[in-house]
Symmetry: C2
Subunit: 410 residues, 2 copies
């Protein structure tokens, strides 16, 4: 008898019919002998509608109140799923984040899970009940409701799976799994059977349908995650540790796993900074203070005691980042601040790719052959990323998908 945590996203519980469909899926797992904890998101566009409602009442809704408001979306859906399970003859109980023991800090809107006190969940499971938990939310020491950030029902599911020692976490969504590339832009993209945590982490950061923090947590607690569709009965993609392993000696394996893209990137370049220790930190710290994530950072070699520093941010943060950096650049006596919008990242992801020569040069050649200019390059253990013009990124993704033969089966 396996213990499974199943997570159903908002599109999977968008209306009464879909909720009944989800209940049917959970019932199948139970009849197969598994013990199931289901974690659900809010129905369809409920969260957006609640945000809109808050906006009608206040131009700057307070974060504590907004969290309490948004948390009602998942509380609704989890009670409805429990009702639907009951009417299929299963014993079921819904739990809000508070009832499920999801303890968080009080950073409203992006709270961190401090602990999952899983006593109630465990007790209900031992009582033979299906437990349906409201995702995306938790509670502080002071009994105040928090939310964990957009898409964080994945995180709720993984945290619960880790806390109760579940055999696996199944994430049901509106896509059939993790693909070698975005099928909307790369027509021959292929669904992966399996992928490693670190690979998935890179892909999630780059737009694949999993919340990055949930992957990190799963990696830390060795929770295998199956990503699959809640509408189609087809095997999904298993995210697990095994997929990161080295191939056997003598085995030749394509280490490139997928092409990922992020179409919303802006670059800010600061030129003519006096090159002294700490200069980059003094430039970037104010961005951290302003809660702006800096992604790729490139610093040029020093020329005549001055240096240039370029970095990328999400296009959504570009306005604020530009303002912050202009102020700091003035204070530290930089020459100029240049902003470049309408950029994108295209990445080739694969475990241990960096230990195998040739991937980077093949990537650059493929882009060159397409006449696509590379604005910036960054590499990690398992990823090579180029920043290119946003208008060319689909073309770049198709070219790289072909170059690395990603359409061929594992």
């Amino acid at each position: 008898m396996a213990t499974i945590v199943q997570k159903y996203g908002g599109t999977s519980v968008a209306d009464a019919e879909k909720i009944k469909n989800v209940a049917g899926r959970i019932a199948s797992a139970c009849h197969g002998g598994d013990r199931v904890v289901a974690v659900v998101s809010a129905m369809g566009d409920t969260t957006d509608r609640l945000i809109e409602l808050a906006g009608e009442v206040s131009s700057t809704p307070e974060s504590r109140e907004l969290d309490a408001l948004l948390s009602t979306g998942e509380q609704m859906s989890c009670t409805l799923v429990a009702m639907a399970l009951k009417s299929l003859g299963l014993d079921a109980v819904s739990l809000s984040g508070a009832q499920a023991g999801i303890r968080t800090d009080s950073r409203y809107g992006k709270a961190r899970i401090a602990a999952v006190e899983a006593g109630r969940i465990q007790g209900e499971l031992e009582g033979g009940r299906v437990v349906v938990v409201a995702g995306f939310q938790g509670i502080t020491e002071d009994m105040d409701v928090t939310t964990l950030g957009r898409g964080a029902s994945d995180l709720s599911a993984v945290a619960i799976a880790a806390a109760i020692g579940a055999d696996r976490c199944e994430v049901y969504t509106d896509v059939e799994g993790i693909y070698t590339a975005d099928p909307r832009h790369v027509p021959n993209a292929r669904k992966l059977k399996e992928v490693g945590y670190e690979e998935m982490l890179e892909m999630a950061s780059l737009g694949a349908k999993m919340q990055p923090r949930s992957i990190e947590l799963a990696m830390q607690y060795h929770v295998p995650i199956m990503v699959a569709s809640s509408f189609v009965d087809a095997p999904g993609t298993l995210i697990h540790k095994g997929a990161d392993m080295e191939p056997r000696v003598g085995e030749i394996r394509n280490r490139a796993r997928a092409v990922a893209t992020d179409r919303n990137v802006a670059k800010i370049t600061v030129t003519g900074m006096v090159d002294r220790p700490g200069i980059s930190a003094s430039l970037l710290e104010p961005l951290t203070d302003a809660d702006i994530s800096v992604d790729i950072v490139v610093q040029n070699a020093s020329v005549r005691d001055t240096t240039d520093l370029a970095f990328t941010v999400s296009g959504d943060d570009a306005d604020r980042a530009f303002e912050v950096v202009r102020t700091v650049a003035y204070l530290i006596g930089a020459n100029d601040v240049i902003r470049t919008d309408n950029l994108a990242k295209v990445s080739v992801v694969g475990a241990a790719m960096q230990n195998t020569p040739g991937y980077a040069s093949r990537m650059f050649r493929a882009l060159a052959d397409e006449g696509i200019n590379i604005e910036m390059i960054t590499t990690s253990e398992i990823r090579i990323t180029c920043v290119v013009d946003a208008d060319r990124v689909s073309q770049a993704a198709r070219a790289l998908h072909m170059t690395f033969g990603l359409e061929k089966p594992d």
Copy 2:
């Protein structure tokens, strides 16, 4: 500095504009120097929509899950009111029933308040904040969410007022106060300046816009209640102890205060029961077990060792009551069970009316003059009720209103 609990019903917070209006009213009270706890119902028809949604998912939604679902309605509205207050520059905090310390038993759908642990509310008030509490809901010892029954936001408000020792409770609704009769049926009905708890209790039981349990609680804890409109700036009706008092010696006062009607009554008559001790109890206990409230009970004098017993129930319970009673009647060897639908109650309410002769006979005469047949009669200390044909009840109310001169000022 007075401490006031204000309760706003669903029509008062039906949309963003109305929520802002409510925030404005609360702000006025605060600027006037009062400390305010606001208790809010769910927006407009939210509760009905949630019940409908539950019905789409399950033909028999489980009561625990239904309560958790319905409680989200008030959680939404209380956060929105808190946001609106914040944007008016007031410090405000929303509290769910659980956060506000509303402890109940676990009779889902009609939980009783066991205690209000008002520490959090008190602390927030002392911190200078307006506290906005989700009405209609509480929490059990096991942290399960309960609801207190339809219209029970009134009860939440009075219970909180009692727990924090508030100076008064103000109930804002879509009517301007308590009237001498239902203005839809009695055109010259008049708004009362004040009314006693017991009078109000009778009127509430008979359809006036206050939840009876909240009146009982207010009476028990001496909480004065002001019922007024949230849309019109006009004095409402004060429900308080003083209004029950005896008039001064020599003062001639009209002891009839109002005419109340209940248009949804059914009568069940059991004939030919052997008249022995306990026979009525054995007939009515199964109804209690089935959670059906029996209202008026009339037993005829015994004729040839058998007796007839008639009682009324709400029209909504008539089907179930009839089934239950038919079974019991068969077991105890009664002759027959007769059901009469489409009845109504019309009552004249007034403190100490029974001590003043003549009210009952004037009432029966007035109905007789209109040619209205009386099916049943029952009286209490402060009420005389006749059961009549539902189609004649408006006519009866108008006749009684005139007979007792209720259109004349207090």
